[in-house]
């Protein structure tokens, strides 16, 4: 089996507040192979953005990495100094963030930002960098790329800006891109365009992607594998098809069931009772147990570990005990 491009093991990120130290990311592990798109999905507060930021090294106090290893192309990157990390970012690991307004410098033209980034990380002359910038703009779908080089971000619409952000992310040909909610701020129709473009660019270059989002629809479109996060932990991981169509973990199942679809009209939506726990009050044992309809007695005492469950791998006592299929059925119908 080929070695994973990105390997995260037992990552822990803490938030230091004056009252207590909270755990925002708790023992998270996953791999991303070359050319693979891993979707990290979860609701707000699940810790997925912090995980992405920790990987690129964009964690500032009061957040701090408190454990675990991150390896890129076989070498550890979590213990690098700031300067080395900076060169790694941009050249090998690119980033796409949610808000195109704040991702682009409003005072610089699009062309300048592209050229600056290219020159910083690649050994090209000014004119070569400019040519490459025009190529990129054409690739992301600008009809008149040469003229667009001199545009300022505020002159472009939201979708166009996000395309520029994509161009920036890909301009140094990174092997891995961390995309944090890349289409959340866009309209539905523009979302579809941008997702298609993103997928195409990744496929053509064989780029790996860690796609962080709460939008299941986007996940279903471009992810190869999916990791579901809850309260700072990974609760389920598997292929996209398996996680979305046949999830094993009760949280994932509740989540998928509560998504409204156009087909299913005017009926009561299944819902998960309660709210995601606050970081200061994460339940003992399994973090989901207070809200779980299939709760077992051991769930509030012992923290479950990742184990195969059906088509996916799930962090759950219910699914781990394989001979309990009868109780799974009973709990599902409860």
């Amino acid at each position: 089996m080929a070695e994973a491009l990105l390997s995260v093991r037992n990552l822990r990120v803490e938030i230091v507040t004056r009252r207590a130290t909270l755990l925002a990311v708790d023992d998270v592990s996953f791999d991303i192979a070359e050319g693979e798109v891993l979707g990290v999905v979860g609701e707000s507060g699940a810790g997925k953005s912090i995980t992405g930021n920790a990987i690129i090294g964009l964690i500032d106090p009061p957040l701090r990495r408190a454990g675990g290893e991150i390896a890129y192309a076989g070498k550890r990157i979590d213990n690098l100094d700031a300067e080395t990390m900076r060169t790694l970012r941009g050249r090998h690991i690119g980033a796409v963030f949610q808000d195109p307004l704040t991702s682009l410098n409003p005072l610089l033209t699009v062309g300048r930002q592209l050229v600056q980034t290219i020159i910083t990380h690649l050994d090209l002359s000014g004119s070569e960098a400019r040519k490459r910038a025009v190529q990129l703009l054409a690739e992301v779908g600008f009809p008149a790329p040469r003229e667009r080089l001199d545009c300022y971000p505020h002159e472009l619409s939201g979708g166009m800006r996000q395309r520029v952000v994509l161009a920036l992310a890909f301009c140094c040909e990174p092997n891995l891109i961390i995309a944090d909610e890349p289409t959340t701020a866009l309209d539905v129709s523009v979302q579809a365009q941008v997702i298609k473009l993103f997928r195409r660019m990744c496929r053509e270059r064989g780029t790996s992607v860690m796609l962080i989002t709460h939008d299941m629809g986007v996940i279903s479109e471009i992810s190869d594998r999916v990791a579901v996060m809850y309260a700072g932990r990974v609760v389920e991981i598997g292929t996209a098809r398996a996680v979305l169509n046949a999830p094993a973990h009760p949280y994932t199942r509740g989540l998928m069931a509560s998504i409204p679809t156009v087909q299913r009209t005017k009926s009561e939506l299944p819902q998960i009772a309660g709210n995601m726990p606050r970081l200061a009050a994460v339940p003992s044992g399994c973090a989901f147990h207070p809200r779980c309809p299939c709760r077992l007695p051991r769930c509030d005492r012992e923290r479950p570990v990742l184990a195969p469950a059906g088509e996916t791998q799930s962090v759950c006592w219910l699914t781990a005990t394989r001979d309990d299929t009868a109780s799974i059925e009973a709990a599902r119908d409860a």
């Binding site: 819902q271 009772a273 309660g274 709210n275 207070p290």
Partner: protein, 313 residues
Amino acid sequence: MSAQSVTKPEPAPRWWQDDLLHDFLRSPVALTAALLTVAIVAIAVGADVVAPYDSNDPASANLIDARLPPGSIGLIGNRYLLGTDPLGRDMLSAIIFGLRTSLMVGAASVLLAAAIGITLGLICGYFRGLLDTIVMRIADLQLSFPAILIALLIDGVTRTVVDRGTHDRLAIPVLIAAIAASYWVQYARTVRGLVLVERGKEYVLAARVTGVSPLRIIATHIQPNVMGPVFVVATINMSLAILTEATLSFLGVGVPPTKPSLGSLVRIGNEFLFSGDWWISIFPGAMLVVLCLAVNLLGDWLRDALNPKLSDG
């Protein structure tokens, strides 16, 4: 279908657990500045008790003891820790009473300026329209004049209009009004800007949809939410107000001679500065510096501490 939080609801934090207080107690700068300010205010308020001699009582001034250096002992055994002024008044007492006057004028003018500025800012920001345009243009015009000039102008006009006796009686209120008139603009602009932001927020819209009257909305919804930055402006302005009063008194158009302030003390000692009697100017000047520094540091810290809260919304 219980929608209640399944984790135990935490009790509301008590005021002594408040983040701001916590920050405050941890910052040495803030603590020192605050203690200093409190000490100064306490001395000023208790001037009658603290000062060794009553500056306002002409009987305490012994002409024979005029211009004695610090630490001297007067003819009848009075101890003058910081020396005496040309009239034989004890410098220490004069400074303490002067401190009281300076603080009083400073605080009163800040309060008056804030009252005018906040009210105008609220009304202009919420209702917009012609009133807003007029008031803001007046504010812009006024900003192009230095505050001192405006205060001088108001004071000068009052002098010509009113006779000498009445003017002496009214000197301090006029001074307060003059300083307030020079500084209201900052409050008005700050508040107006914040009101423009708040009025578009959805909780204000919700109140409008509910049918709450505009004045009630301003008073109960908007005003409490814009006061934060006003406190910062006020503390910074406080030292400016004190300095303005000192400058005006130094120029001779501030407090009447019967009620000396730190500025007028500096003025008195100015003539003697180069003839060797340095203590008459330097000590009041130093006191002024310490006072303004303490107030400024407090204001600086307050601004930084309130900042993340401001951005949290």
